[in-house]
């Protein structure tokens, strides 16, 4: 079990204006899974390449168990990368693919055979040793790639969106398999993804990455329920931000005075946020409830989404049950004080706040 620490990593590419990574510091505890969540182009894949050693940082330090590995070449780091594409060697059978890393280490024939069988059982694909990669489905290929990555007992497993080209159901079973195996073997793992649900479901901790910066790093639950900054909250799906003056437990915002609770950061200018599914739609006025009109509604299955006009602002609300709309289309949105949480306002002021 290996602890990974990254400190002050920077990396720029020639001919690109903005750096791919700007002073990134992160740490993963031994045996845990750290997810890096961000949009495409946010620099998260670059981070994995630096750790794997296929690229070198401009500055900064990477340590495994406290020892720098920057001077160790990629093939001696014990960090295995898995990509969106399985990259199974097409000229080798499944068994030979899995054995690739063991052959490199000079393992005996008997060991190899036993290990290959064990790994295939672990990824729940027993008996396909002699197939060719081209004969496998996408999900099976990724399972074999996982077996090939794990058979050498790497210190670190680096997953670069390994599920994103799979069908939803296959994706979910593979996510569960990876999580189970990672836990069983206790391999420190970094998972790069742009799928919020995937990061939350699989990770022990989630790091949010945007434009080469780490916005926040915390447990899935805390990050989802109480993202610390506006940008982090947006990445977590929050769309409602209220900026205003905080005084005596009340926020004076553009929408009016709203009660907030919990430890208030300090009096004066403050920004509060609320998750779209925590906003309630109701037919009658009440505390923290504002009159609203439905502009659009979308049925998405488990959730229904509403776009509401509140004063001169629009608000996005998610409801777990479709709402019975009153005759005139007039209703009230309630922003429960216990679900309003303060966020640090790190956004450019150009965006129109509520």
């Amino acid at each position: 079990m290996t602890a990974i620490a990254l400190s002050h990593l920077t990396k720029s590419y020639p001919r690109q204006a903005t750096p791919a990574l700007a002073d990134v510091s992160l740490a993963a505890e031994p045996g845990t899974l750290l997810a890096l969540l961000g949009a495409s182009g946010s620099g998260k894949s670059t981070l994995l390449k630096l750790i794997a050693g296929v690229e070198a940082p401009d500055s900064g330090e990477i340590t495994f168990d406290g020892r720098s590995i920057l001077r160790v070449p990629a093939h001696r780091r014990g960090a295995v990368l898995m990509f969106q594409k399985a990259y199974l060697f097409p000229f080798l059978s499944v068994a030979e693919n899995i054995a690739f890393g063991l052959r490199v280490q000079g393992a005996s024939r008997a060991t190899i055979q036993a290990e290959v069988r064990r790994m295939l059982a672990l990824v729940e694909l027993p008996g396909i040793e002699h197939k060719r990669p081209a004969q496998l489905s996408g999900g099976e290929q990724q399972r074999v790639a996982l077996a090939r990555a794990l058979v050498t007992r790497p210190r670190v497993l680096l997953l670069d969106e390994p599920f994103s080209s799979l069908d939803p159901t296959v994706r979910q079973t593979l996510q569960e398999a990876v999580r189970r195996i990672q836990g069983e073997l206790g391999i420190t793992t970094l998972l790069v993804t742009h799928d919020r649900g995937e990061a939350l479901a699989m990770a022990d901790r989630v790091a949010l990455i945007e434009r080469g910066e780490v916005l926040a790093c915390d447990t899935p639950r805390r990050l989802f329920e109480r993202p610390p900054t506006c940008r982090a909250a947006r990445l977590m799906g929050v769309t409602t931000f209220l900026r205003g003056e905080l005084a005596g437990g009340w926020l004076q915002s553009r929408l009016g005075a709203l009660a907030v609770c919990g430890p208030s950061p300090r009096e004066g200018r403050a920004t509060y946020a609320i998750r779209p599914e925590q906003i309630r739609l109701r037919c009658l006025p009440g505390p923290n409830a504002l009159p609203a009109r439905i502009l659009a509604q979308t049925f998405r299955g488990e959730l229904s989404e509403y776009v509401l006009q509140v004063g001169d602002a629009t608000l996005r609300v998610q409801a777990f049950q479709p709402v019975a709309i009153p005759a005139g289309g007039e209703l009230f949105v309630e922003l429960p004080p216990e679900h309003l949480f303060p966020v640090c306002d790190d956004e450019a002021s150009s965006e129109r706040p509520l």
Partner: protein, 278 residues
């Protein structure tokens, strides 16, 4: 309704096939015709103009000619030259093609243009320029000199063939192998080489064929001391005996045909193995 549908579909398919089949058939007729004529020539004597087919068929002169020591020496020189040239062309062409195929940089077009040049300039002109160089370097008349001169037309063709290979090459496989613990040598021999295999086969074939059919360059640099098959063939043409010409021509054609057949087999096996994935 359904019948009418089917008819329309069928007629359209037929028309499409026909418009595609005609040029195809024409192509094949143009290409196979001469070879058949060659075989007829080599295995016959006394075939005069108004006759549609030769009067007499015999293999004796063909066999006698192929068994002569002169032929055997020339065959060996040809094989040696073409083989060494092919190997050198691959060693020099691989890194060049990798850079040109995988990277985009300024001046790429210019480099490609310069590469094209020797395929255009007539061999005679190249040969004269090289002749001087070879004389000054003391390479004239030696097999090494002939090989180096063959590289001039062979390299561009090799590089072009390899360019196509690298355009489709995915470096991710090499990356994957490195993170699995494979050092540079192992990555090259166990991953890159098998992946590039089919493309390398085609490039080697091109190199071999181009070197194999050189005549003027060999003559100019070899200075009469290096005798290859094409030179025997030209001498035979000067002699004017059609059977003898056709026999040498068939011998000349045999190794390339064999090389092509082997390459085709390697390619077919490779593609069956690799399947749709690569």
């Amino acid at each position: 309704m359904r019948g009418a549908n089917l008819l329309v579909t069928f007629r359209a398919a037929l028309l499409r096939r026909a418009t595609r089949a005609v040029p195809g058939a024409l192509c094949i007729a143009l290409l196979v015709g001469p070879i058949v004529a060659l075989v007829v020539y080599a295995c016959s004597t006394r075939w005069f103009f108004p006759q549609l087919l030769p009067a007499e068929w015999t293999l004796t002169p063909l066999l006698r000619q192929l068994g002569s020591p002169q032929t055997r020496v020339a065959l060996r020189a040809s094989l040696l030259t073409a083989g060494v040239t092919t190997a050198l062309a691959l060693v020099l062409g691989l890194p060049a093609a990798r850079v040109l195929g995988l990277w985009r940089f300024r001046g790429r077009t210019l480099v490609l243009l310069i590469l094209f040049l020797p395929t255009v300039v007539p061999p005679l002109a190249i040969g004269m320029g090289l002749n001087i160089l070879a004389l000054r370097l003391g390479l004239a008349g030696s097999l090494l000199g002939v090989v180096l001169v063959h590289l001039v037309p062979v390299l561009p063709y090799t590089i072009f063939a390899l360019l196509g290979v690298f355009a489709r090459y995915d470096e991710g496989y090499e990356l994957q192998a490195r993170t699995l613990g494979a050092g540079p040598l192992r990555v090259w021999f166990r991953v890159a080489w098998p992946l590039l295999g089919p493309g390398l086969t085609v490039a080697a074939l091109f190199a071999f064929l181009v070197s194999w059919s050189q005549y003027l360059l060999t003559l100019l640099i070899g200075g009469g001391r290096v005798i290859t098959l094409p030179m025997l063939l030209f001498a035979a043409v000067a002699g004017g005996n059609p059977t003898s010409i056709a026999g040498l021509a068939l011998l000349f054609a045999a190794p390339p045909v064999l090389a092509i057949a082997l390459a085709a087999r390697a390619l077919a096996a490779g593609s069956a193995e690799v399947g749709q994935q690569y």
